[in-house]
């Protein structure tokens, strides 16, 4: 009978290895930022799955990749096979997990470069330890929200700030046709604006035949406390406009700090918000982060 090797499960988990229910086999989670994998990495993944697993990979619900059915003795060899293509093992446990992102720089509705931002955020949060529980972060390019920022502990959404030049406007109403939230409507032949309904999607800019509506800049909306699982909770939108990336990174750092200070062990961020109060988090962010402007 083979002897079970001694290993520290928590340590293995912290670097992406999850013990399966089948004996000493592991499903190894890989680091994929923003769902972006090169062709070379895909070839290395295929090779690794054949040599160290059972010939297939598993795509996770959050753009991740796992190599299942890897024997404990194969883990280091798997790591070496993948290292040649710059693929690292991912993270499990109480850490910032895989950062998901849509293709905001390619999609015609995209307002921000989600892939670049995902890499930047990933580098920014690297090495942060001591969180109460897992922390999921998602970046979506516009209010269509394809990457579901409201289901993540922290969701980032691209925003376009727009203004209309009433002098140029023909009252044709095409922008109102494009405006899903009803911030622009045609009433009695004239365009009526209700800025409070605007979600900063920028769709009106692309349709105006005379460029009477223009974008004055881009930024980010931030959602906090979302989660799925057995006790789902949709995220709350923070009442700030975040105008640039450096401020956004500071918001992320301050949010993680607040969670670390206020969360109890194994408590998800949304539950901490419900227990301690969203106002408490907002106040803390306002005190700590310079350059936030109210929505």
């Amino acid at each position: 009978m083979s002897k079970t090797p001694a290993y520290d499960l928590n340590k293995l988990k912290s670097t992406g290895m999850m013990k399966q229910k089948q004996g000493d086999l592991f499903s190894v989670r890989l680091k994929v930022v923003g769902g972006h994998i090169t062709a070379e990495q895909l070839r290395a993944l295929a090779d690794a799955a054949e040599r160290h697993g059972v010939g297939h990979v598993h795509l996770t619900t959050r753009q991740g990749v796992e190599v299942p059915c890897v024997a404990y003795e194969q883990i280091e060899a798997l790591r070496e096979t993948l290292a040649g293509a710059d693929v690292e093992f991912g993270a499990c446990g109480p850490r910032v997990r895989t950062i998901t992102a849509c293709q905001g720089s390619l999609c015609r509705y995209g307002l921000i470069d989600c892939q670049q931002l995902a890499r930047s955020v990933d580098a920014h949060v690297e090495g942060i330890e001591g969180l109460p529980h897992k922390f999921k972060l998602a970046i979506t390019g516009c209010p269509n929200g394809c990457i579901k920022p409201q289901e993540n502990d922290l969701g980032i959404m691209g925003q376009s700030y727009v203004e209309r030049d009433a002098e140029l406007c023909l009252d044709c109403g095409l922008c109102a046709d494009a405006c899903r939230p009803g911030a622009l409507t045609i009433e009695h032949g004239g365009l009526v604006e209700d800025r409070s309904l605007c979600n900063n999607c920028g769709m009106c800019v692309g349709v105006c035949p005379v460029d009477a509506i223009s974008a004055t800049g881009c930024g980010y909306a931030v959602f906090v406390g979302g989660k799925m699982g057995s006790e789902p909770r949709l995220a709350d939108r923070l009442p700030f406009e975040v105008g640039d990336e450096s401020i956004l990174l500071n918001v992320i750092t301050a949010t993680l700090r607040w969670y670390t200070e206020n969360g109890t062990e194994k408590e998800r961020f949304g539950t901490t918000i419900d227990r301690v109060g969203l106002d408490n988090l907002i106040e803390s962010l306002t005190d700590e982060v310079q350059g936030l402007s109210d929505v």
């Binding site: 394809c146 046709d177 494009a178 349709v207 035949p209």
Partner: protein, 96 residues
């Protein structure tokens, strides 16, 4: 109904993408650059999507007329090649 050039207006109401964009391409391709065509689309997302695609391709919407549930657009064909609406669809997200 006819356009200003005497061509029939292209009625797109009730149509679905991407077929309507092929029809628009063909309709615009049938007139010379600088000439106009008339397109009739459903008010709301359909006309917004079409207007967005036309603008992105460099055509000019020079006039609109609206009734309760449709919008008639007079469109001047851009001076370059016929439109390339490949990929334009309903506003992102709704079919994902």
């Amino acid at each position: 109904m006819t356009s200003e050039t005497g061509d029939d207006a292209l009625v797109l109401t009730g149509g679905t993408c991407p077929a309507i964009f092929n029809d628009i391409d063909a309709h615009l391709g049938a007139v010379a650059p600088g000439e106009t065509v008339k397109l009739i689309a459903s008010a709301g997302e359909q006309v917004a999507s079409i207007a967005r695609g036309l603008k992105a391709d460099g055509h000019t919407i020079i006039g609109t007329e609206r009734d309760d549930d449709s919008v008639s657009m007079t469109v001047r064909r851009q001076s370059g090649s016929p439109s390339d609406n490949a990929g334009e669809c309903c506003p992102g997200g709704s079919c994902r």
